[in-house]
């Protein structure tokens, strides 16, 4: 009984101690990263070398990050979010979760990627591509799809993978892009048809590309940087850019009311991340990301964004309707499937 008692006490004591232990020196910075877990240490190291600031970070999916910002709204724990789609950031800004910041280094970034409202800063751009399993197409003698329409080819039935827009940043971005690209009617028509080709909508972004790498599916929708990573690991896959593709701008932003002693460090990080030095880290880390700074070098095997025929999406308008579109998607496309 005494042991029991003392342990419960310990619990209570730990509780009271830990609740007080917070504010640290100003040589630290807390970031929620949406980049992949293997590349982040490179940036953290390089940033520390250049500035002496220690980054403490958590790696989450972009959706998790926004959900967490909302949950922590009354007492934000992070100063910066980095790596998520700018549409998500625009949504977060509209909810009052972000702080405006205009970096002086933005001059080195093409104007087309800037946030007109000044909340987020672009850190990398990524094109929507098809990740294709070579072996399957050889064996089945099928034509590799090279446009959004070609994806609807009946011979691909059951072999195309796309995540559900409510559970993947790429998929939700594709949905809003498609909405602007094809117009309202054309968009739903497209998804009606696509639904017949897909076995189902995946619940995780990574499930589709994984299935293609392992030969469980033939085609998956993903981003060029991710696709190149899979390819570089040795899987027998190719990257196909759809004839007109969608381009995502991924960004960093400062969290409103984040830890006060980190405010200056947060700005320093964003300046650094989009500087030539910061952007070149994408090669060091093996992340194959496309840099936004005009002076930076792109990774080998990467198509420059200027060579891609990209659809000009109105990001701000897209951000405003994204959430509603996903709900509409669930009503129109999901429920119809459930009723079958």
């Amino acid at each position: 009984m005494k042991k029991l008692l003392s342990l419960v006490f310990v619990l209570a004591i730990i509780l009271s101690i830990c609740s007080g232990a917070f504010a640290d020196g100003s040589k630290e910075l807390t970031i929620y990263f949406a980049f992949t877990d293997d590349e982040i240490p490179t940036y953290v190291e390089a940033f520390k070398q250049d500035t002496g600031i220690q980054i403490n970070y958590v790696r989450m999916s972009a959706g998790d990050i926004i959900a967490r910002l909302i949950a922590e709204k009354d007492n934000p724990q992070a100063s910066v979010i980095c790596g998520g789609n700018c549409m998500l950031a625009t949504g977060a800004a509209q909810q009052g979760l972000l702080e405006k910041y205009e970096s002086p280094v933005l001059a080195e970034v093409p104007e087309e990627f800037h946030d007109p409202d000044g909340f987020w800063t672009p850190v990398t751009v990524a094109a929507h591509v098809f990740l294709v399993n070579n072996e399957w197409f050889e064996e089945e003698n099928a034509t590799v799809p090279d446009s959004w329409e070609a994806l609807l080819d009946p011979s691909l039935k059951g072999m195309v993978m796309m995540a559900h827009p409510s559970s993947s940043g790429v998929a939700s971005s594709m949905l809003v892009n498609m909405y602007q690209y094809k117009g309202e009617e054309g968009c739903w028509e497209y998804f009606e048809q696509l639904k017949d080709i897909l076995p189902y909508f995946n619940k995780a972004s990574s499930a589709g590309p994984a299935a293609v790498c392992l030969g469980e599916a033939a085609v998956a929708l993903t981003l060029d940087s991710d696709a190149l990573k899979y390819k570089n690991q040795g899987y027998d896959v190719s990257i196909v850019y759809p004839e007109t593709t969608f381009v995502d701008v991924n960004c960093a932003a400062i969290v409103k009311n984040g830890p006060a002693d980190e405010a200056e460090n947060a700005k320093a990080f964003i300046d650094w991340m989009i500087s030539e030095r910061g952007q070149n880290q994408y090669i060091e880390s093996g992340a194959c990301r496309c840099p936004v700074n005009v002076n930076a070098t792109a990774a080998e095997g990467m198509k420059a964004i200027s060579d891609v025929k990209a659809f000009a999406c109105d990001k701000v308008a897209a951000a405003a309707i994204q959430s509603d579109l996903i709900k509409e998607f669930m009503d129109k496309i999901d429920n119809a499937a459930a009723l079958k």
Binding site: I70, A71, L214
Partner: protein
């Protein structure tokens, strides 16, 4: 429950008696008070926050629209029944498999017991999604078995059938641990009585052994039922189009940022669990399962008969299958690129060590703190609720019951909304993670503790008290040693689950406390399967060592003491 149905006056006088008893035993009353406080803070308060979320709209106004939406929407209804169907199937199969193992290992002279015992611990010590991966590798379209061995093309591995397979393999060990405690403790003299009276072995099993193990069977069923219901990672990885509530709730929150709808869905997820546990309590409350009486007994009887060959066959098949799955993971850890290039090497271990050793160390630290707290608190709650009468017992029973029902994601959201602001500010600390681990995993300790206590005759404890021992001494020296198995089960389960938790920590993991599973999931997401496999192999080794240490420690602490007079 003896107080049920008594007239009000008499009940009030029992309350008075209870109060008096508490005043006489200050240690006991302080313990009760502390446990109650922690339950209120770490279970009821976060749950209240979730309930509040589900009853408000995004602007914070009171509404029942979320709940109505959840109950009227067709797709949610389908998801709800999907979850139920899966959970019931898995619970049934897992309990069945676990019972056979528990019976074979506890009540027969099955050869190779130690080996079986070791292998079936494997599934509880690894993050579940790695099993899903092994299944894809073996049985997928390009699977080593389906394609390579059997030449089947286009075998679809995604869907309910794979989910059932993986969940049964993942969860039956916990059911086994619960059942093992029960079956090991059944006094053989009752079986002997039946056999002496002329009953056959089978008849004895059917009418004596099995009914006496019923509390364990029901506990095992419920534990696996709940685990299947709240499983998040397997449906996400291998569920295909089979949508379940746990993934839906997560999707609604992180995809649509609809915390209110997510909370409403989560409450729906708790409904079947709470109902099931009410039924269990009601049913068990009316029967006696006492077989541990303190009267002289003989060694556990071994049914040494024709039952062994079929039992051996069954156990071997299951164990071989587990070995096949883990063997795939193990081999994968040494392959250059799993699925493509099978050149062997150690490079993944080197990479993973650099990449994840910090997270692994922190995960282990947290688990080492959380596990003993879970074990002691769980056994304490089990003991107090089934042996003592005191004011607040109802709250303790209900809130400990609720720990079964809360899915990981929901607990995470409840914690972050409850402990992100004053008065209890815990976000970003180790405490919030430890608390989440303790209260998320305590159910197994409570459940196996309670069902073992049902077997132990109160007169053993009364004898101790009559001989002059205090309540504390009696608990420590008499009850606790008898509860060794559930205590061990509770600690091991908590330890393992703390190291391998996925859904609970999504919202709680903080920069200063990176966790191993998040790191593995990170590798999984960029399809570095061989690295993920290497990490998991490393983790399994570490956890197995830890279990051995826990086993050693529990045996030393709870060794029955013999005093020479």
């Amino acid at each position: 429950m003896p107080e049920q149905g008594k007239p009000l006056l008499k009940r009030r006088s029992t309350t008075l008696q209870e109060m008096r008893m508490l005043i006489r035993q200050p240690v006991l009353s302080i313990t009760i008070l502390l446990i109650l406080t922690s339950l209120v803070i770490f279970i009821l308060f976060p749950l209240y926050k979730i309930a509040k979320l589900s009853l408000t709209d995004q602007a914070g106004h009171l509404t029942v629209a979320n709940l109505i939406n959840v109950f009227t929407s067709l797709s949610y209804r389908i998801t709800f029944f999907n979850s139920l169907k899966l959970a019931i199937t898995v619970a049934f199969l897992a309990t069945f498999v676990a019972y056979i193992f528990a019976y074979a290992l506890n009540r027969t002279d099955l050869p190779g017991k130690k080996f079986f015992n070791l292998i079936i611990q494997l599934p509880i010590v690894s993050p579940p999604f790695i099993l899903a991966l092994a299944v894809i590798f073996l049985f997928g379209r390009q699977g080593l078995i389906t394609r390579g061995l059997l030449g089947i093309k286009n075998h679809n591995v995604y869907g309910m059938h794979s989910l059932i397979l993986i969940q049964v393999i993942s969860y039956f060990p916990v059911a086994f641990m619960t059942l093992s405690g029960i079956l090991g403790a059944i006094d053989s003299s009752v079986e002997d009585a039946a056999l002496n009276a002329g009953a056959s072995n089978w008849h004895t099993f059917r009418t004596v052994t099995f009914p006496l193990s019923m509390p364990g069977v029901i506990s095992a069923f419920l534990l696996t039922f709940v685990q299947s219901l709240e499983d998040f990672s397997n449906p996400a990885v291998i569920g295909g189009d089979y949508a379940v509530l746990a993934t839906e709730a997560y999707r609604i929150i992180t995809g649509l940022y609809d915390f209110n709808g997510g909370a409403a869905l989560a409450l729906m997820l708790m409904l079947p669990t709470v109902c099931a546990f009410m039924l269990q309590r009601y049913w068990l409350g009316h029967k006696s399962f006492v077989t541990v009486t303190g009267k002289p007994t003989q060694k556990t009887r071994r049914m040494n008969n024709g039952a062994i060959p079929p039992l051996l066959l069954f156990c071997s098949v299951v164990v071989l299958f587990i070995l096949l799955l883990y063997g795939t993971v193990f081999v994968g850890a040494f392959c250059k690129t799993w699925g493509v290039d099978y050149t062997l090497g150690f490079s993944h271990f080197k990479y993973v060590w650099g990449y994840g050793k910090d997270a692994l160390r922190k995960s282990l630290t947290l688990a080492c703190i959380a596990a003993p707290i879970t074990g002691i608190l769980g056994i304490g709650i089990a003991y107090l609720t089934s042996r003592k009468r005191f004011p607040g017992r109802g709250i303790m029973k209900v809130s400990s019951l609720l720990t079964f029902a809360i899915p990981g994601t929901v607990l995470g959201i409840g914690y972050i909304s409850a402990f992100n602001t004053k008065p209890i500010l815990l976000t970003g600390t180790a405490t919030i993670l430890i608390a989440a681990f303790v209260f998320r995993n305590i159910s197994v300790a409570i459940e196996s503790g309670s069902s073992t206590l049902l077997q132990i005759d109160q007169s053993i404890e009364e004898a101790s008290t009559i001989l002059g021992a205090s309540a504390g001494t009696t608990f420590r020296r008499i009850t606790l040693p008898l509860l060794k198995q559930p205590f061990f089960t509770g600690i091991v389960f908590s330890f393992v689950r703390s190291v391998t938790a996925v859904s609970t920590v999504v919202f709680l993991v903080s920069p200063k406390w990176p966790l191993a599973t998040s790191k593995i999931f990170g590798l999984f997401e960029i399809s570095k399967y061989s690295d993920a496999a290497a990490f998991v192999t490393l983790m399994i080794v570490v956890i197995l060592i830890a279990i051995a240490v826990i086993n050693f420690a529990v045996n030393i602490i709870l060794k029955p003491r013999i005093h020479k007079i």
